[in-house]
């Protein structure tokens, strides 16, 4: 029983970083209707910028982290404004190719500028200290990630529910034409959505970087976040979060009780099962194709 509880705790811990990536992906999917495969690299570049601010320019960790989040916001807006918006007669396939292309460009840029050596980001708390409750443990870093993820979810909920811009974003996502007719500048809304998405992803990257930093560090969280978003429903923010936690917990239980060999790929088996049973995801109300 102890093992089972430990696996669930560890699954929730790892699910938090997946959840942040999933949130970022769903935000963009709702705005631009594209699965955003540059999500990981939109976080990767700001994380390395933070590292550079600390080691090359001597800034403190907090200033560097805020700098990275600000940079992520600008980067997300820029990618939407300069690339995605410029796509002529975009269909989903074309936009997916655009995001994969951007992913390769940003990854190449980071690899070229910073090299492939592994490194770690300084952080106020140790990555390997932990809280023990009897035989159960949770690392302090996992706790921080969990609380930060919950805080971001609450902030996003409040933002969409009560802020004018948040309501405009929801309106744009639900019916862009009607939103435009109501005076909402939908292009600007989409651009800011990309910025917010990059910022949320960067939070996840900054919380992973104290353990290890390398150009491919965001690849796995991005894939698992995507898996979580698909499981929960690409159009549902709470669904994406819940899906990400499901992926984390299922991975751990599968690794613990069934097979460690296939632990890393079980998330994709979950996607297949969910898509067969409920194609729009567990939490999306229904799938409506816009015409």
């Amino acid at each position: 029983m102890i093992d089972f509880i430990q696996m669930v705790i560890s699954g929730i811990a790892v699910g938090s970083s997946y959840a942040l990536m999933a949130l970022g992906m769903v935000l963009i999917y709702k705005a631009s209707e594209v699965p955003n495969f540059v999500q990981g690299e939109m976080a990767l570049l700001p994380v390395f910028i933070a590292y550079m601010m600390i080691y090359s320019y001597g800034y403190s960790v907090f200033i560097a982290f805020f700098g990275a989040l600000f940079f992520a916001m600008i980067l997300g807006c820029f990618l939407e404004f300069a690339v995605v918006r410029r796509a002529k007669n975009p269909n989903i396939l074309g936009l997916i190719i655009v995001t994969i292309g951007l992913e390769m460009i940003l990854l190449g840029l980071v690899s070229w500028k910073f090299g492939a050596d592994q490194r770690i980001m300084p952080f106020p708390i140790s990555s390997y200290s932990s809280v023990m409750i009897g035989d159960l443990y949770i690392s302090t870093m996992d706790l921080v990630t969990l609380f930060v993820a919950l805080a971001i979810m609450i902030v996003l909920f409040l933002f969409f529910r009560f802020s004018k811009f948040g309501v405009a974003m929801k309106a744009t996502q639900q019916n862009p034409t009607a939103a435009r007719l109501m005076g909402i500048r939908t292009n600007r809304v989409k651009m800011v959505t990309w910025g917010i998405s990059a910022t949320v992803g960067t939070v996840s990257g900054l919380l992973l970087a104290p353990v290890i930093m390398e150009p491919y560090m965001m690849w796995n969280p991005m894939l698992k976040g995507f898996a979580g978003a698909v499981v929960g429903g690409m159009t549902s923010l709470p669904g994406a979060v819940f899906g990400a936690y499901i992926v984390g917990v299922v991975e751990h239980l599968f690794g613990g009780y069934v097979s460690m060999d296939f632990k890393a790929v079980v998330a994709f088996a979950v996607i297949v099962i969910v898509l067969c049973v409920k194609p729009s995801g567990l939490f999306a109300r229904h799938y409506v194709k816009k015409v």
Binding site: D3, Q6, M7, S10, A13, V14, G108, S111, G115, A116, D117, Q118, R119, I120, S126, S127, Y128, S129, S130, M132, Y137, S139, V211, I212, E214, P215, Y216, M217, W219, N220, P221, E251, H252, G255, G256, M260, D261, F262, K263, A264, V265
Partner: protein
């Protein structure tokens, strides 16, 4: 008359053309020797790209000192991203369009296996694959000369040290799900059988898996008091870190793949202190058990010289001086030595002859010995079988735990 004149002129051109290059060995001209190499400069294994950059700087240093018998070494290395499909495409392109005399290094078992048959069928020498795979010597190939000690040897030394010297009663292994990890697992099992011990746990790690919590948990539940790691440096740092968070503290032991103490101390925030790793290079014969060494201040005379002259003058500005870079030099040393011994009349057959005569050659790695090809004897192509153990210290240095130890060749795949 015109036809005769044309034939004579054509013949003369061919003859003079051949004379000007001396003879017709692919990849060798009067002034140059072309050597090929692949390595991941991008992708998840890009940290191993330093192997090719080490070789490159080494060749540049040789050229700056006059080359070999009046010829410069022209090094062609390309980025295969650790993707076997790209490896074979790149090797064929360089070989068939540019013409390589020989190949050196080449990171990874899977990329190497993708081109092994091609190189052997074309009778192109390949020296020092940068992976300790038994595939390079089983069966031995005339043109393939291994340098990197087999991972089976790492397992042998580590288990022996844990069980005999340290008196560990329960040994577990964490292995990467590929040829590297599976050899480590096989070597561990072989040695445990020898000592009548049970394997406490065998925990596989998938390539690219970044979540090591379940792995650490399974190790912790096994109660192993020594854990052998045949995984990547990133996976090792994660698993040791999570072990620390779980208050699980066995004696961690690792193959030479995670033997770069300065790097490992850095990325584990010091948790790598006390970890025992095998190593196949940079131990001066005169150094004693208990001595401290540090790659940034090497006692090994040749390593110190390479640091000053090869790395200092020919490495890129942001290149890190580390084990991987030095291994790139070490894997190329037997090739360079054989080219020197072959003299001015360099052919592939002469190169193979000289390599086969090589006995106890020592550069920055351990002693390297080959012999005339015997299809039933892998030792004729195994090169180096020596390893030693060291234990990482807090400052990124290491304490020497053993002298060079000749490992036993454990047959696999039979």
């Amino acid at each position: 008359m015109k036809k005769t004149l044309f034939a004579v002129l054509f013949g003369a051109l061919v003859v003079f053309g051949m004379l000007s290059t001396g003879y017709c060995e692919i990849g060798v001209t009067d002034t140059e020797i072309h050597i090929g190499q692949w390595s991941p400069q991008s992708g998840p294994a890009a940290a191993w790209g330093a192997v090719a950059r080490g070789t490159d700087a080494y060749f540049k240093w040789i050229n700056a000192n006059g080359g070999i018998h009046g010829r410069k070494l022209v090094h062609h290395y390309f980025d295969d991203g650790y993707n076997p499909a790209r490896t074979i495409a790149g090797v064929k392109q360089l070989q068939e369009q540019r013409g390589m005399f020989a190949w050196v290094g080449g990171v990874g078992t899977a990329p190497g296996l993708a081109v092994k048959e091609y190189l052997m069928q074309k009778k192109i020498p390949w020296i020092g694959p940068a992976a300790g795979s038994w595939h390079w010597v089983t069966p031995p190939q005339k043109y393939l000369f291994n340098v990197y000690p087999l991972y089976l040897g790492d397992a042998q030394l580590l288990v022996e040290h844990a069980a005999k010297k340290m008196g560990k009663k329960s040994i577990a292994v964490v292995y990467q799900e590929d040829d590297y990890g599976e050899q480590g697992l096989a070597g561990t099992k072989h040695m445990l059988e020898k000592y009548n011990m049970e394997l406490a746990a065998a925990v596989p790690v998938a390539m690219g898996d970044s979540d090591m919590r379940p792995h650490a948990m399974r190790l912790s539940r096994s109660n192993a008091d020594a854990v052998l790691l045949f995984i990547s440096p990133v996976a090792a740092s994660r698993i040791i870190g999570i072990g620390k968070a779980m208050n699980y503290a066995p004696q961690w032991m690792s193959s030479s793949t995670c033997g770069d103490c300065p790097l490992m101390i850095d990325i584990t925030q010091g948790l790598y202190e006390g970890v025992i790793t095998s190593s196949f290079g940079m131990l001066e014969t005169g150094e004693k058990v208990g001595d401290l060494q540090h790659i940034n201040d090497p006692k090994h005379k040749l390593v110190a010289e390479y640091k000053k002259d090869v790395y200092g003058k020919f490495a890129a500005r942001d290149e890190r001086w580390g084990y991987t870079f030095v291994v790139g030099i070490g894997l190329a040393e037997p090739l360079v030595e054989a080219i020197k011994r072959a003299g001015r009349d360099l052919t592939r057959e002469r190169l193979v002859e000289e390599l086969e005569k090589m006995e106890n050659f020592r550069g920055v790695l351990g002693r390297i010995t080959y012999g005339p090809l015997d299809p039933n004897n892998p030792l004729t192509r195994i090169g180096q079988q020596e390893l030693f153990l060291h234990q990482c210290t807090a400052d990124g240095g290491s304490r020497i735990l053993t002298n060079w130890i000749e490992t036993e060749y454990i047959p696999m795949g039979h």
